[in-house]
Symmetry: C2
Subunit: 357 residues, 2 copies
């Protein structure tokens, strides 16, 4: 394991704001973006929090791809649906606005969907779905990705991003159900971790240029060609591939954003034009809200009580590990790798931003 | 391979109607149910067409579980959402009514969802999603299942059905995108086929009473314990498990249907109370309809043009194999196994129904 440094939640929050603020992001976008990124770090989704500044946002900013003072505009606004133009900035802020809009519409119509186009990476998909659940609603969040990394079944070239699906629903006694999953077998981050640890990859995570299974973690990290969920045709990779395409249709085709492999040749600084999809649905319009919450509690309890393969590893429900991590890290702080801390120090210095970690 | 007999499309249609009619199903439910079942047989989804009469509906009818003259009632009916009570009959008819209702509402609101409770097996999930696509809309269809067969990650007991997701979207030049997938790694039908062929199962399809991989096809067919899509924890079975739970929440918890493992002890003849979920969304409300169709065509074309692993097996898009099969079987007729034809002859005789095959 790499060396880590545990820092306070407030320090991470301050560091995100210091860097993004120095790059030109103003309130309210700044606090909202930091909140979404911090949520990922608190819940153990380390690949989607403050690390993104070093892993990706710095490069996009340097390439002139990110607009740090975007104007978020509604290009369609009807009682049950809307489309926002994200103005070419980071995706977190327009996505929070989009889910807020969906929740507001849902209060009147019981069901609403909002798409976002001309956006970028929006952090952890689960955040927006969880916003709906916190409001007592069912929430869905999906996003396209500006670069293709997932290879369709029978194919030897990548055609979709990791195209995640998040779904959240409010229980009563239990924390909400929060599913947040890439439609690829694993996310890119897992290849990076395996390469660092020098571990041979399981067959089914990654393929080579000929579409054949690739188990060398270093080559897999360089190539970044993931399988769709299902891994192989025998185990159902055509299903993960189909889900990835569903996400792409709802995020890119529906909003008018760009499907990456059909992107025309671009000049440096051209916006990525990534699309997102959000949906809010009110269970209290379908039936008594308390009955819905009670029935979901009964389902969750039933799953937790399922006979486990190994008594030391009980059956979990989506969101359980993240909720436990959030409690732990809220109390104890957030561990960051020393490498990341060093990178963030450099980025802060270059941006004339305060270093808070 | 077992012996097969190829029969005309009209003969299959007539046989479905003759048996269900003799069991007490009247018009318009009779023609609509036959249309949905025939669609599955035409598209090669053999496990969900006329074979269901022999494989399942006969037993349910004999057990007094199916009401063949149900009253379909709207228990909730708002501008964007509704819930129908299926009256305890087969699921096809209330599900067609539900998707018709969703499509009608969607014409006014751009987005609508309808749930069904107190229903049963509804055939191929894709039919209802495809109804929306034929109407120029995006469609979603999902269903719960009356018996649990899929084992959650880390668990040794089944907790969900195959809980399918279907999603369809209209293209321009191309046939619609129609994804129709169980959220288990494979459907029960594949275990039955493997058992018949005496083939050892791939690790990851099925587990035993201890939750350990089971590759003996005969035992797997008896036990019927499937893994969620992803097959193993390493390959992402927690994602398929999460998707199965999402389907269950939208179908059962939202509609007020029953989540099978929490079903109270029942007496013979008690209804299964299965739930379904349908959604229709109008892409023409988000952007110019023709632009949406064109962009989806471009995506489909791009996928078809993807460099294949094996030049003899091009990259497909969900719905391609079924569309090809529909063209073939419409022209040539539908092959039924001789065993199935014999079973249907016996069922027709017992019901005093005409035998048309």
């Amino acid at each position: 394991m790499a060396e880590t440094k545990t820092v306070t939640v407030a320090a991470v929050d301050a560091q995100i704001k210091a860097i993004l603020g120095a790059w030109g992001m103003a309130e309210p976008a700044l606090s909202i973006t930091a909140r979404v990124m911090l949520w990922a770090d608190l819940r153990g989704i380390d690949s989607h929090g403050i690390s993104m500044i070093a892993a990706s946002y710095r490069r996009m900013r340097d390439a002139g791809i990110l607009n740090f003072a975007p104007k978020i505009e509604a290009v369609v606004d009807l009682p049950s649906i809307a489309t926002l133009d994200g103005g070419g900035g980071l995706g977190h802020y327009p996505s929070v606005r989009a889910m807020e809009l969906a929740i507001g519409k849902c209060r009147k119509t019981a069901l609403a969907a909002v798409t976002v186009r001309n956006s970028n990476h929006y952090g952890a998909a689960g955040y927006y779905a969880a916003m709906a659940a916190e409001a007592g609603l069912i929430g869905i969040s999906m996003t396209g990705v500006h670069v293709a990394a997932t290879v369709p079944t029978f194919g030897a070239e990548p055609r979709f991003g990791t195209n995640p699906i998040a779904f959240a629903a409010p229980a009563g006694r239990n924390p909400p159900f929060v599913l947040d999953m890439a439609t690829s077998t694993v996310a890119v981050g897992k290849l990076v971790l395996a390469a660092r640890a020098g571990k041979t990859l399981p067959v089914g995570w990654s393929v080579d240029e000929q579409g054949q299974p690739l188990t060398d973690p270093k080559r897999a990290r360089e190539l970044r060609r993931m399988t769709p969920l299902g891994a192989t045709r025998d185990l159902g990779s055509h299903k993960g591939y189909g889900l990835a395409m569903m996400v792409e249709i709802l995020c890119s085709t529906l909003s008018g954003a760009i499907y990456a492999p059909t992107r025309p040749p671009s000049k440096p600084g051209d916006p990525y034009n990534v699309g997102h999809f959000f949906l809010a649905l009110d269970p209290g319009a379908f039936r008594d809200k308390a009955d819905f919450n009670d029935d979901l509690d009964a389902m969750i309890d039933c799953l937790h009580a399922t006979k486990p393969v190994d008594p030391a590893q009980p059956v979990l429900v989506a969101g359980d590990p993240e909720t436990a991590m959030e409690i732990k890290r809220t109390a104890e702080g957030i561990p960051l790798s020393s490498v990341l801390v060093d990178e963030l120090r450099d980025i802060a210095r270059a941006a004339n931003a305060e270093f808070t970690l």
